[in-house]
Symmetry: C2
Subunit: 358 residues, 2 copies
DNA sequence: CTGAAAGCGCTAACAA
DNA sequence: TTGTTAGCGCTTTCAG
């Protein structure tokens, strides 16, 4: 069915286009009666104003989208940013503009940038939330001002954000567990390395890995969970100590991007060929560990695609009025030695189309 | 500085708006001289077309894109179609229209539909190529007429198609081999089931699996390759015969979507728990075999994403003049029991955003 | 209170 | 080869 226009409504209601406009936009100067009639017809015929026409007559008012994410963590947020910016670029000709305004890192400049963004003329705000407890209030403030907040690479539970695009930590944990279970011998003993258990994402990954591993593996179990607080130093020390303390470890699941210290500690202890690793995400320094067979697989959270998706959701909403889904979880990709070169983080050669390498 | 419009350029160049339009869009029918003048002014004044105005006017003369794919093979082409049509839908307001004109199946109505499409007013043609040797000529004919041909879910080697979006058969084979190698014991004996070895896709999958498996697996090898010619009957018979003939098989790689007959044959022979399967793609009837642990993993070719990508490439080309990449290979997704429910083919609940389940 | 008409920047059909 | 013109759907102004 064709899209209906103001002119059509005017004809149907036997009034002029001006009258319809007044009714639709409650500009007053209109009788209750005609207004009702017009509104009824509009609703019935499912009238949607044509955004292009509106923009045209309203004069250049490009739709700005604020982008507030940290500068980079091991390439992850670089990818998110690329996804957002390249995604936005595709809609440039539709008048979409992304305002990239990063902050240094979580807890540093985050709040200020966000505040700043709220003052500017944006239609939507894409943000990567940390754990700052004030976020929920800021989000409320934004939505209050009709700025749609889309969380990316995380979520703020209990907030009124329009939607969140992220990977599902429980799914990541389960996939990692399933793979690990198939890689190790029966009765295997596994250690988990994670960032901080106070972080809900990490704690979910850990608990769902543990649960799933014990379900999938034949008698295997998780013997220890170690927090590294995202510190390379700490991770290395703790891993080294662990290797001295425990003589039999069959595998390790590293639920944070901080996996290199573990690899080097394993290597230093001469156990790099013995302990099987399942990691998270991917970056160039991991390649040799894949090649040696230390890292068997990695659960990739598709940062680029998360960025692209966030933009898509905003654009679809703004232009087509498509409602935001409550949450948008992406299916993880599994990184293997075979497909390593297909990931944007690894292959920077532009010979292949990059839009979809993730 | 205010934004400059076509009218301004026309005034500056002492020509009419129509002429400026022709110059800017290389529509021909214009003298080299005036064109140069206009282009110079446009560049100088940094002219950018007004997206709203363009959208508005494009709304009435939609850009048609032909879509010529088979009706369905185990949901695969349904997904491709959804990807294309939903992708196109997002650009509806920019005047993009997809003309879905499917054929019954490969070799049946394919040529006719294609011919038909060539006669219609389309700007691009998205097609899923079979093995018809006349395709190359048809593609040549289309490109001759300035109809960009984008192959999806396959390619026509040696043709002048603008680009192809597909999964890389060699990569699929290698990923399958790597997983298989990690799932089975040392010295494992593997059988490959495929469609038809005359098909280059299948033969590449088979050979790269074989090669990679022998590299990854500790002494394992591929002991047999069986063609099923996409027939369920044939697959079942051959698999049953095989199981009688060979007592020890550790795993099977099924490089075609036709995996159910193999599962049932295994089951009938009481070996469903013994032989480990790595399959291709996913559809609802496979679920129980995942749950029983017969199918350990599947290499998913992302049909929906292939469709979306094809449309994206066309749209980006038409609107932004972005050149087509020579070929666009998608990184495969690995289907596991854990993430089974995340695939569009399996989960039809729309609670989660579906755009990205692939 | 309502209608008529101008015009946003662009494209395409037709005239010259 | 170029110019002219009629809209696309909407807002806004000015007359009734």
């Amino acid at each position: 069915m064709k899209r209906i226009s103001i002119k059509d409504i005017a004809r149907l209601a036997n009034v002029s286009r001006g009258t319809v406009d007044r009714a639709l936009h409650q500009r007053g100067n209109i009788s209750e009666q005609t207004r009702n009639l017009i509104m009824r017809i509009a609703a019935e015929k499912n009238y949607k104003p044509n955004p292009a026409a509106r923009m045209l007559v309203m004069g250049r008012a490009p739709v700005s989208i604020g982008v507030c994410i940290p500068k980079e963590i091991r390439l992850f947020f670089d990818q998110v940013r690329d996804g957002i910016m390249e995604g936005a670029h595709r809609f440039e000709s539709m008048g979409i503009k992304a305002n990239y305004s990063p902050f240094e890192r979580y807890g540093q400049g985050e709040h200020e940038r966000l505040k700043e963004m709220l003052g500017s003329k944006i239609k939507a705000l894409i943000m990567a939330p940390g754990v700052d407890p004030s976020l929920s209030a800021l989000i409320g403030e934004a939505e209050e001002k009709k700025i749609h907040v889309v969380c990316v690479a995380g979520d703020v539970e209990g907030s009124v954000r329009s939607t969140a695009v992220c990977s599902d930590p429980e799914l990541n944990g389960r996939c990692a567990a399933e793979l690990m279970a198939k890689f190790v011998r029966p009765g295997a003993r596994i250690v988990i390395f994670t960032g901080m258990l106070v972080h809900p994402v990490h704690s979910k990954e850990v608990s769902s890995f543990t649960e799933a591993f014990e379900q999938f593996a034949d008698g295997g179990k998780v013997i220890e969970v170690i927090e590294n607080h995202e510190s390379e130093e700490e991770a290395f020390q703790k891993c080294s100590a662990l290797l001295k303390r425990v003589r039999r470890i069959d595998g390790m699941y590293i639920s944070t991007v901080n996996c290199l210290p573990v690899c080097t500690a394993l290597n230093a202890a001469g156990r790099a060929e013995k302990v099987k690793l399942v990691t998270t995400d991917v970056f160039p320094e991991m390649v040799p560990w894949f090649e040696r067979g230390t890292i068997l697989a990695s659960v990739y959270q598709r940062p680029y695609m998360q960025g692209q998706t966030a933009i898509s959701l905003v654009v679809d909403h703004v232009f087509s009025g498509r409602p935001f889904p409550p949450t948008c979880y992406l299916n993880p990709l599994i990184v293997l030695r075979s497909n390593l070169r297909m990931f944007r983080e690894i292959s920077h050669q532009k010979t292949r189309k990059e839009l979809n390498l993730n």
